[in-house]
């Protein structure tokens, strides 16, 4: 059996908070197979975003190992793309130029870059907006452009940090459907961090429930419902309710 795409073993991460050290993630161990879709849900403060940033190589773990595509993560790499909550398109570049930024000039010839950009614009349905500036796009379109940028250099793993949380619910539902289609088409692994349990159950093979303070894995739930999933089906609703109950157990008593 081949090694998994991503392995986290006993990962710890803390940040200095004034002169105190605050533990953000504790003893995170996890494997992700090639092409899998894993979602992380948890209340704020459970370190979900930090977890993604560690895998992306934007932060360094205090201890433990992160192995991606048979190599320890020491910094951002070509194996891994990332989508943020904000689209992070550069406002002075067109959509096509923004996507082009993800293609290092040394690794891709000009003709290949043009072809890849056109393919990925089509994949996210923005072919007509190649030369538009980001200011002209709606929030949903901008996030599609960000997805195209995240995929264009053919990473093996795409990290999504609450990618749809700033969108209106109609656009969000639509983009969730799109993301599922893209995932099935591209056959790459995706790691999604979200507040939205429904989003997690709709998209993921596996939902990882994180407990807060410090962030640690509290449950791993396999979602075996057939795709494309019916959000109104009894199984879907039951699974969503079960995960929500898990999460509510960690919520502190409301402060009045």
């Amino acid at each position: 059996m081949s090694a998994p795409l991503l392995t986290l073993s006993a990962v710890d991460k803390g940040f200095a908070l004034g002169n105190r050290q605050r533990q953000v993630l504790h003893n995170i161990s996890l494997t992700v197979e090639d092409g899998a879709f894993v979602a992380f849900v948890g209340a704020s403060g459970c370190g979900k975003s930090t977890l993604l940033r560690l895998v992306a190589g934007l932060e360094t773990a205090d201890s433990g190992d992160i192995i991606l595509a048979d190599a320890p993560v020491t910094g951002p790499s070509r194996s891994c793309g990332m989508i943020f909550q904000d689209h992070r398109l550069l406002p002075w570049l067109t959509v096509a130029e923004n996507i082009d930024l993800a293609l290092p000039r040394r690794e891709f010839a000009a003709a290949d870059r043009r072809r890849l950009i056109a393919e990925h614009l089509e994949l996210v349905g923005l072919s007509d907006y190649a030369n538009a500036l980001p200011g002209k796009l709606s929030g949903g379109m901008a996030q599609r452009a960000a997805i195209a940028r995240g995929l264009v250099n053919r990473p093996r793993l795409l990290l999504l940090d609450e990618p749809f949380s700033a969108l209106d619910s109609l656009t969000r539902t639509r983009l969730q459907g799109e993301l599922q289609r893209i995932w099935a088409f591209e056959k790459i692994a995706m790691l999604l961090v979200t507040h939205d349990v429904e989003e997690a159950v709709f998209l993921a093979d596996r939902v990882v429930v994180l407990a807060p303070n410090p962030g640690r894995i509290s449950a791993v739930i396999d979602v075996e419902l057939p795709r494309s999933r019916d959000r109104a089906s009894t199984e879907f609703v039951a699974l969503k309710a079960a995960i929500l109950r898990q999460l509510e157990a960690f919520m502190e008593a409301p402060v009045i």
Partner: protein, 267 residues
């Protein structure tokens, strides 16, 4: 051609002319009051160079080759000094802004430099590079360098951290990072600095012609007019200086419109 297609640019031009007319209304009003005061004998027209005298002097000046050669000398001097100042100040500012170490290292020195009036450099520059053309151009360069240097530091410092993180994630090379991210991101601040540099360079040009030895130029022209007690000529020169200032400002606006066109695209 249909009427509607014509009406739009016509209306836009009318609006633009209206704005220019509004801007000219106040100087015109001042000229009218001033001239009335002179005609009514309320002020001495030779001491308070009346608009009519200034107009006559202006017509004389426009036909005087000496005026044009002075004007040309000032513009050339300004162009040399400002070009050098921006060419040195902008890369220096961007370079200083790129690292926290250099920023902290230079901050006290630059803050002090900001507070030192530019003309206090005259004695030093006169000794170091002479009080002839080289001294003047160096003085102008120094004046034009400072605004764009500060705005370069500020521009890099004000880059969006999320964009810098993106550059790290996408592993942008040094050149691409500079061309695609740093320069465009710092452009609003840089262009504010360039606008000031053009202005400061021009002010310093006239100042240099006063403060260094005479060598042609509008400043020299003004001093000569003062010797002759021709205040009308002084006012003509002042107006010419101001008009060049408006020209530079318009040029800066053109630069803004070109380099910052993405800021106008927000829907």
């Amino acid at each position: 051609m249909s009427g509607a297609a014509l009406a739009f640019p016509l209306r836009r031009w009318a609006a633009r002319l209206g704005i220019i007319g509004l801007g000219l209304a106040l100087p015109a009003l001042i000229a009218v009051i001033w001239q009335s005061a002179a005609v009514l004998g309320l002020v001495d027209p030779t001491v308070w160079a009346s608009p009519a005298l200034v107009a006559v002097a202006a017509l004389q000046q426009l036909q005087d080759p000496q005026f044009w050669s002075d004007f040309g000398a000032s513009l050339l001097r300004d162009a040399e000094g400002t070009a050098i100042g921006i060419a040195v100040g902008l890369p220096a500012g961007l370079g200083l802004g790129l690292s926290r170490f250099t920023r902290d290292l230079f901050a006290p020195l630059l803050d002090a430099a900001k507070a030192i009036p530019i003309f206090t450099w005259v004695p030093l520059l006169s000794v170091w590079v002479g009080s002839g053309e080289a001294g003047k151009v160096t003085f102008i360069a120094l004046a034009a360098m400072l605004p764009v240097l500060f705005s370069g530091v500020e521009g890099v410092f004000s880059l969006n951290p999320a964009h810098l993180e993106l550059a790290r994630l996408l592993r942008l090379g040094r050149f691409r990072r500079l061309a695609r991210l740093v320069l465009p991101g710092a452009a609003p601040a840089i262009l504010r600095g360039v606008r000031l540099s053009l202005l400061f360079g021009w002010l310093a040009t006239i100042g240099a012609e006063y403060l260094f030895e005479a060598g042609g130029g509008i400043g020299t022209n003004i001093m000569a007019a003062r010797e002759l007690y021709r205040l009308d000529l002084v006012v003509v020169d002042m107006i010419a200086i101001g008009l060049i200032g408006i020209l530079f400002d318009g040029f800066s606006t053109l630069l803004d419109n070109y380099f910052l066109r993405w800021t106008a695209e927000k829907s």
